[in-house]
Symmetry: C2
Subunit: 478 residues, 2 copies
């Protein structure tokens, strides 16, 4: 670029103007050959941050680029594989009968948002620990229940992300590195626990998932054998899904993958009507695949956790009160800021005044380079989250600015098969001021209502700056 | 445009140059303000054709635009619906035990290309009318067998398009206009009858389709009820399919639509292993949906047949020897020209020297505005047929130049949900010189081999000019 500008000078260019366009216009009006360069100061001119970036560039005691190369390599080599179905109490590490896992960074009952409280109420009733909303609220406030983030137990949960002891979970294993991840079964849209609803129909559906759907899918999976979810995600990106809020192709591929094995269960004594209900439920719920793409993403980025000196972001998550991130080189620390408002489309009868703030672990998909980062692969999603197909293309293109590489397996046909933007570099976010693009569902702000819409959301900028400051504190020499 | 040019003249423009760019360059070199306009003479300057177009414009005894509006309205209002499965002999009009239907316009045994001959040999052996290739060839040449285009029997067939009496067919009905269409079941890729293979494995698969797949799908369809295929096609265009050579989404949607009904058949006494085989076959064959998108397309455009004065093309088809079209206002006449070479990608071990010429009725999808016309919806298809995603976008955009409208149901997300180019106008093809874009499989030129590749093909230009001449003959006043 600089040599291009030198050439222009030799051709009569007099002034290169950085920044304010009006200055260039004034010069041009006076007949001075002027080149306007669209330049922004790093970190939006935030001197403190520029100083931090400088410290890390020139006085770091570790080779950040090498650490990030290792983190990236682990993300790219990850092989998220669906290996089983189990009961949370039995398979999720650290789970107890009185533990309730939730989405996002840690949060107390007192600070929980409406939909998360609603889902906790539903979870306690589902477990038989409370018989009513009032009882559940008292128990939740009593200190008897341990609330803990899903992320502290190798799990992820969409929206409120509530996991209780009896709930069945998908079990993933990273075939390259051995780490595991867990996620509940998707309940569908509308009045569902993860959006804060806890009526009888919600609890009945959860019970059906536990007693019929999960055991049947467990058997089908056993007959099928481990399922390479990386291959499935690669396919859905060529079929109009992005793996977060558009999952029609993913759900379809899961159905066709398991259907032959499901029908063979009948020969082993399973009731065909139960199998038909399982197939009908999946067919009627295009978000079924979300609870597979999420643990696949968790399983992928977890392989890059805890790498000394790496600025790669290995978790982003929201609990409806706070948005938090974790950085590979900074261990288990969360950096948090206030959860944002979601800009989006609302279901009939609802509007922005009904909306809870940004919530859920589903942003693990973006952390792994799909979801909002792969929106160019799923232009039809704008009918669900708002915007135009051009926006979807622009969002993906922008995410290349804050990531380390293009995925070598997840490719986007319309971008000439360019790989999805992968390996979010904290430094690049802070330097460019470009925030990770996230698409998301919107829950009603009150407990007990459910889903009201879907849209796009920006995380709070401070979490990235705070994490960078902590990183410099940890790794800079002075 | 013309007023824009006038404005430019008022601003000092001296010359508007149409056509040859070098003339404009010469003027510019002499300091003359020159605007280069990218203009081509209509019909490539073919005076005879320009005269025909003029005759139709100014001295036609009918209102072509009104006739085309009626044809277009019927195409847009069509509701192709899958209503049943039947045996060709029993449901296809005019079918007899010694009739063999083939793709494309009429062709005699003597003029048939290699893969069509191979498929006829296989068809006669499958029907028990011949015991060997030699016997089959003798019978085919004897005059005892009636060869007839699928299109003469409301049917369409991919590649060789062979339909014999015992073969099961999908039955479609246009819920808006009542017309029906028929198509066999897709056999998969590789060594299959429609690509000219006739070995025992090919015949065994056809028998399995007849005795197991078709009866089971017939029962599942009966339990499901009529399936609105227009809705399914609208969905697949948002899932990376174009309905001709990319059908992974379509096949997935069919599986999920029928899976619950298939499993319930077990309760009615069906063997679960047979159902599992059906589901496994569909799962293993992403072209399964082609034999549904084809009769859906046929059912759609057939509603626009026989409209007095309409220049809308209602059939394009190839038999591997000739390419032919039919025009709404010209009844059952075929206009034919030599089948073209396909430009494409070859399977390992094969090359252009192995390729048969363009063959099959599958171009009915393009005739209905999907397939090649909707390639922008399916950029990943270029991995199968060659080219780049930009080519796919450009192809769809070009097809708007030769069509009457944008489909109001079939929409392409990446083109900002623009409808697919629908209602091919013979006049526009001849006037612009833009030929319909077709993507297609490639068969081996010899009987008995099978598929060797896939690619893009241009139809012969003369068929459109000949049809226009016939149209003027029929409808012009002098």
């Amino acid at each position: 670029m600089s040599s291009d500008i030198l050439n222009l000078f030799s051709e009569g260019l007099k002034v290169v103007n950085l920044g304010l366009e009006s200055f260039a216009e004034t010069l041009r009006a006076q007949g001075v050959e002027t080149l306007q360069v669209d330049w922004k100061p790093p970190a939006g001119g935030d001197e403190k941050i520029v100083a931090l970036l400088d410290r890390l560039s020139f006085r770091s005691r570790i080779d950040i680029d090498a650490a990030n190369a290792e983190a990236l390599s682990r993300i790219l080599k990850a092989k998220p594989t669906l290996v089983g179905v189990g009961k949370a109490l039995e398979v999720v590490p650290g789970m107890t009968e009185k533990t309730i896992l939730h989405s996002g960074p840690p949060v107390t009952w007192e600070r929980m948002c409406g939909p998360m409280r609603g889902a906790v109420i539903g979870g306690l009733m589902y477990e038989g620990l409370a018989g009513s909303r009032v009882e559940a609220e008292a128990l939740a406030a009593s200190g008897e229940i341990r609330f803990d983030p899903c992320h502290h137990h190798d799990a992820v949960g969409p929206m409120a992300g509530i996991v209780t002891a009896s709930m069945p979970v998908w079990i993933f294993e990273n075939a390259s590195f051995g780490n595991r991840s867990f996620c509940t079964f998707n309940e569908g849209l509308g009045k569902v626990l993860r959006y804060g609803a806890y009526s009888q129909e919600v609890l009945d559906r959860l019970r059906w998932i536990e007693t019929e759907l999960a055991p049947i899918m467990a058997k089908a999976l056993e007959a099928h054998g481990p399922l390479d979810m990386k291959n499935i995600i690669a396919q859905v990106l060529q079929m109009g899904d992005e793996g977060h809020n558009r999952n029609r192709a993913g759900t379809s591929l899961i159905i066709r993958e398991f259907a032959p094995h499901l029908v063979r269960l009948v020969a082993k004594g399973e009731d065909p009507e139960k199998i038909a209900r399982v197939l009908t439920f999946m067919h009627g719920n295009d978000h079924f695949f979300l609870n597979l793409s999420m643990p696949a993403s968790k399983c992928t980025v977890d392989a890059a956790k805890g790498i000394e000196g790496s600025t790669v972001i290995v978790a982003m998550a929201r609990n409806g009160t706070d948005f938090g991130i974790r950085v590979s080189g900074l261990g288990d620390r969360w950096f948090t800021g206030p959860a944002s408002k979601v800009e989006g489309l609302y279901l009939p009868g609802f509007g922005p005044e009904d909306a809870a703030l940004d919530i859920g672990d589903s942003v693990i998909t973006e952390t792994a380079g799909i979801g909002g980062f792969a929106m160019a692969a799923a232009p039809a999603i704008v009918q669900f989250v708002g915007g135009t197909p051009d926006d979807a293309l622009a969002i993906t293109r922008r995410m290349y600015e804050i990531t380390l590489a293009e995925n070598d397996v997840y490719r986007i046909p319309i971008l000439d098969f360019r790989g999805t933007p992968t390996g979010i570099d904290l430094r690049k976010i802070v330097e460019t001021g470009i925030l990770p693009a996230i698409n998301t569902g919107i829950a009603h702000r009150e407990p007990g209502v459910g889903m009201v819409g879907a849209g796009l959301v920006k995380p709070p900028e401070n979490v990235f700056k705070d994490a960078l400051a902590a990183f410099a504190e940890t790794y800079a020499n002075d």
